[in-house]
Symmetry: C2
Subunit: 206 residues, 2 copies
């Protein structure tokens, strides 16, 4: 009632060392056993802390799991953002994102989770919230590409962001949708065509 520092659930701060410990332990457990077989007691044991502390920072198990994945995604976005800084064009950036994303799917927490609970992973992938968090990621890069003239300034940023997101998601989910786009060069060439001209002209330099 008199608490001021009450952060019930919204926006956990990853800087809090206790939160970090909880998430570390939680991620470790999920990585090893999957979500279903991970109990709050086990997380507490692994993180050498009390169950009470977990419930202080995360209201319930679902929040904890969500917290683990949100942090992973945040880390992924930060890491990717850094990589993109070094790349010149929007197409390069998108290509890199897809390659990065695929790698994460193969090697990250999703890969191990997919082995024990593929349905859960499938559900996460189809949840629009999973992508909505990344929507704020692209607009700066879109604007930059408009300034350099790589893409038209007439297309509004939201629309361009939408397309780029759809392509990224589609390419990570389905490396092959008729045409095999598993190698970086093939992927880049495809994205170059689609982003810059769609299916309209200028496939070759005309």
């Amino acid at each position: 009632m008199t608490s001021v520092t009450n952060n019930q659930f919204n926006s956990v701060d990853y800087d809090d060392p206790m939160v970090a410990r909880i998430l570390d332990a939680g991620e470790q457990c999920i990585h090893r056993f999957g979500i279903r077989r991970t109990s709050m007691g086990e997380v507490a044991r692994v993180g050498r802390l009390s169950r009470g502390s977990i419930y202080r920072h995360f209201g319930d198990k679902e929040s904890l799991v969500e917290g683990v994945f949100r942090r992973r995604q945040a880390l992924f976005l930060n890491r990717t953002e850094a990589e993109l800084e070094t790349l010149p064009t929007l197409v390069d950036k998108l290509t890199e994102s897809v390659v990065s994303g695929r790698k994460d799917m193969r090697e990250g927490i999703f890969a191990s989770l997919a082995e024990t609970e593929p349905e859960t992973v499938a559900m996460m992938f189809l949840d629009p919230r999973f992508y909505q968090r990344s929507v704020s990621f692209w607009p700066p890069h879109i604007r930059m590409a408009q300034v350099t003239g790589e893409i038209s300034a007439d297309v509004d940023v939201a629309t361009a962001t939408d397309l780029v997101m759809r392509l990224a998601v589609s390419m990570v989910m389905f490396p092959d949708m008729g045409v095999t786009l598993k190698t970086r060069p093939a992927l880049k060439q495809y994205l170059q065509q689609v982003i810059c001209h769609g299916l309209g002209g200028a496939a070759s330099s005309r």
Copy 2:
């Protein structure tokens, strides 16, 4: 050993009235109870036939379920194909496909299945085989659009098909990916831009 008419599993002919009866009963059961709670005995009872007949035409339960969904998809593709015949442009066709696809997801067998077994539906949606069957659907329309000049003849048919499929799948799966594309006009305008110009110029008539 001496059987000539042996069609073990590959390509069931929907014309065979027994096969149709089995599939009808199977679909009815899946629609009502979901896959998990549908037993071969129940399908037999509903279709007023013997379990043996089912096992003659479909090797196992998985094959039967697959058969039901394959037939549904074939019907959907045929129906959609017919609708597309009446439409002038590739963009119109793609728009119609998405609207049709969304309707099927809302009202068809998937909608009811999603209520009882959402994870199963999610798994089906992420299975590339689910889409591979539709790959042969688009190429004729692509070529037609190249002839009329709607899209460039320089882009090869496989690539164009791939993009059209990706857009269709993405739009049905995620009506909103930053920009809301739930209404037909909004959807068509978006697809028009993406298909004809990508994010390159000519957003307005230049």
